[in-house]
């Protein structure tokens, strides 16, 4: 593993994001500085409208800052061609959404294969790695199940397998337990914790649920587009 020195994995410097313009302009992020190092488990908290989701979208290269700089391993992403950004998302990031966002009427295996399709991986290799990923999230044997035949917890597991199948460094989870009951939510969190240990993942998770936030080692709290609290927690659950 190459030494990265003091360069953080993900780094926001003076990042602002405005929506709309003129009088209707809305400042979603206001000069935010944030560094995330490899291996961290960061919980991003805040009320709705506080800017936490906007921050997440910028971290995932789904959206661009209006002002300031965002660097992934020291490389500023603003100037990158959209196709390069697509490859960056494909190789470095795994996304887990609140609403699972699986393809409808499509088998678990095909859903998990999708990032590999876009990465240009051959069919056999694709299938092998997708089966492995499904086994990793405890869904071995359910490869052929269609997305609408699976429970919410199972769908989120498929989504996690999809996020992990291309071996990303970072998992970006936006309210991953938001659509699940608390017990299933805890199961999903346990799964993420285990995968993090086994795969040496960096996880950034947006949530407004204090219990779920308890799984994170570091809390970054947003309010009105600014970071109002950023602290490391000890005695992490699990």
């Amino acid at each position: 593993m190459p030494t990265r020195g003091s360069i953080p994995l993900l780094s926001l410097r003076g990042v602002s994001k405005h929506f709309g313009d003129g009088d209707a302009a809305f400042v979603a992020l206001d000069h935010v500085d944030l560094d995330i190092d490899s291996g961290e488990f960061v919980g991003i908290l805040g009320a709705s409208g506080s800017g936490k989701s906007t921050c997440m979208n910028i971290l995932g290269c789904l959206d661009m800052p209006t002002e300031g700089a965002y660097c992934v391993e020291g490389t500023p992403v603003q100037q990158l061609h959209p196709d390069v950004l697509a490859r960056l998302r494909n190789e470095r990031f795994g996304f887990v959404f609140q609403g699972f966002n699986l393809l409808r009427r499509t088998s678990a295996l095909e859903n998990v294969e999708l990032p590999l399709v876009y990465a240009g991986v051959g069919r056999r290799e694709r299938e092998r790695r997708s089966r492995e990923a499904l086994a990793l999230v405890g869904l071995a044997g359910r490869e052929a199940a269609l997305s609408n035949e699976l429970s919410g917890g199972q769908q989120q597991r498929v989504a996690i397998a999809r996020a992990l199948v291309n071996q990303p460094q970072v998992v970006l989870a936006d309210e991953p337990t938001g659509n699940l009951d608390s017990r299933t939510g805890r199961d999903i969190m346990e799964l993420l914790m285990r995968l993090r240990r086994e795969l040496d993942l960096t996880i950034v998770m947006v949530t407004h649920d204090r219990d779920i936030a308890g799984y994170a080692e570091r809390h970054v709290v947003f309010s009105d587009g600014k970071i109002v609290d950023d602290r490391l927690l000890r005695g992490v659950a699990a």
């Binding site: 979208n57 697509a86 494909n90 996304f95 959404f97 966002n101 999708l114 399709v117 999809r162």
Partner: protein, 401 residues
């Protein structure tokens, strides 16, 4: 790779996919069917004219007109029986010559009557046409020489006027002239021109001239050449003979026209060709309408699948991947529609050709063209929705409700 994605996306929505293709299916089916029927009609026309004898020539009064069948008869002298004799005598490449004068007339038997075509014919007529009798006899030299009031009739006339009874020996009144039926012609069927060839009465030309026409003029001359190869020779010889007999100077145009059947065949083919083209262009318009249908559904599909597009972009799809997926979906839809349409069109043409009693000709070229066009339609009408999909920004697509 994107092809697989596109096929999977289509398979997920089988009902909608098949309904979307319907427009193209109908368009291609229409094109193929029209072309097949056109080709069948042309084949039938060609076949019938070949059946008439490709060695047949028809001499009409009047110079060559501008229209397909038109000849300018105004002021041109009619033919006479002397012309018939002259051609028989002087043109070596000719086998049979007949003079024919026709008019429409009311034929009466007891209380039955029917409007039909009456022709006064010289005896060579039946040999030129290759017609023979089913019962009785044909008109003879004697009939002609003696201006006998004898006639031969076609089946339609016989059936209509005599019912089931044997017409041979019975009397038929034409105008105020009583004629004895001596022969019943074999059934000839409906001609290419849509004329019932069995709705026909023939009498000796001398009788016709004296009793019906009132003068010795002959309407048209029908000539059969010795062989198909010598048709052109016969045509040239007749032309020069007629110019000489009609005293036409070298700098003047003909005041008569010699047509051979190949010419008529070409004219008819061009007519059916034009009709086929017209019908096919109407069909082609429906193909375009089908394409617009595909575009519509693809646009709806892009809107409906905005979140899906967002997810694809988030997990690493480039906008070119999205573009090609939607484009391939549109092309697959239209190509599938084209294939099904070509098959349906062929079946439809087969059925219709049975009904219309025309030969079935599968228009391979038209089918290939329709398929190509339907794929092109897919590309043209698929590009717009696909670009719309590819231009979505990931975050906006993901947020779309």
């Amino acid at each position: 790779m994107t092809a697989t994605l596109a096929l999977r996306a289509l398979a997920r929505n089988k009902m909608r996919s098949s309904l979307t293709t319907l427009g193209v299916v109908i368009g291609v089916a229409a094109v193929v069917m029209m072309q097949a029927l056109g080709a069948g009609a042309t084949a039938r026309v060609t076949g019938e004219i070949a059946g008439l004898g490709s060695n047949m020539l028809i001499v009409l009064p009047g110079g060559a007109g501008h229209g397909a069948f038109g000849s300018n008869t105004r002021g041109a002298p009619l033919f006479t029986l002397a012309d018939v004799d002259a051609i028989t005598r002087e043109v070596g490449a000719v086998r049979h010559v007949a003079g024919v004068s026709s008019r429409s007339i009311r034929a009466v038997v007891a209380e039955n009557n029917r409007s039909t075509t009456l022709s006064g014919v010289t005896t060579g007529f039946f040999a030129v046409r290759g017609w023979s009798v089913e019962r009785g006899r044909l008109l003879t030299e004697d009939d002609d020489r003696q201006s006998q009031k004898n006639c031969v009739i076609g089946h339609t006339v016989a059936d209509d006027l005599f019912g089931g009874q044997d017409p041979i020996g019975a009397e038929l009144r034409l105008h105020d002239l009583g004629c004895r039926v001596v022969g019943l012609l074999e059934t000839k069927g409906v001609s290419t021109f849509g004329q019932d060839q069995d709705d026909f009465v023939a009498m000796p030309h001398t009788t016709y001239a004296r009793r019906i026409g009132g003068d010795d003029h002959v309407g048209t001359l029908m000539v059969s050449a010795v062989s198909e190869e010598r048709t052109d020779e016969a045509k040239a010889a007749i032309e020069s003979l007629m110019r000489q007999r009609r005293r036409i100077r070298a700098d003047e145009d003909d005041d008569f026209t010699v047509r051979d059947l190949r010419e008529i065949q070409n004219i008819l083919s061009s007519v059916t060709g034009v009709l086929t083209t017209l019908l096919a262009s109407v069909a082609a318009i429906s193909l375009v309408v089908g394409g617009i249908g595909i575009m519509n559904i693809m646009l709806v599909s892009v809107t409906e699948r905005t979140r899906e597009i967002g997810v694809r972009l988030a997990i690493g799809a480039r906008s070119s991947d999205i573009l090609s997926q939607f484009l391939v979906e549109a092309i697959v839809l239209s190509a599938a529609g084209g294939l099904v349409g070509a098959a349906l069109g062929a079946v439809g043409a087969l059925v219709l050709s049975r009904v219309l009693a025309t030969p079935f000709v599968f228009p391979l070229e038209a089918a290939a063209l329709a398929l190509t066009v339907s794929v092109a339609v897919g590309v043209v009408f698929g590009v717009f929705p696909a670009r719309k999909a590819a231009r979505l920004r990931p975050i906006e697509a993901l947020r779309y409700e």
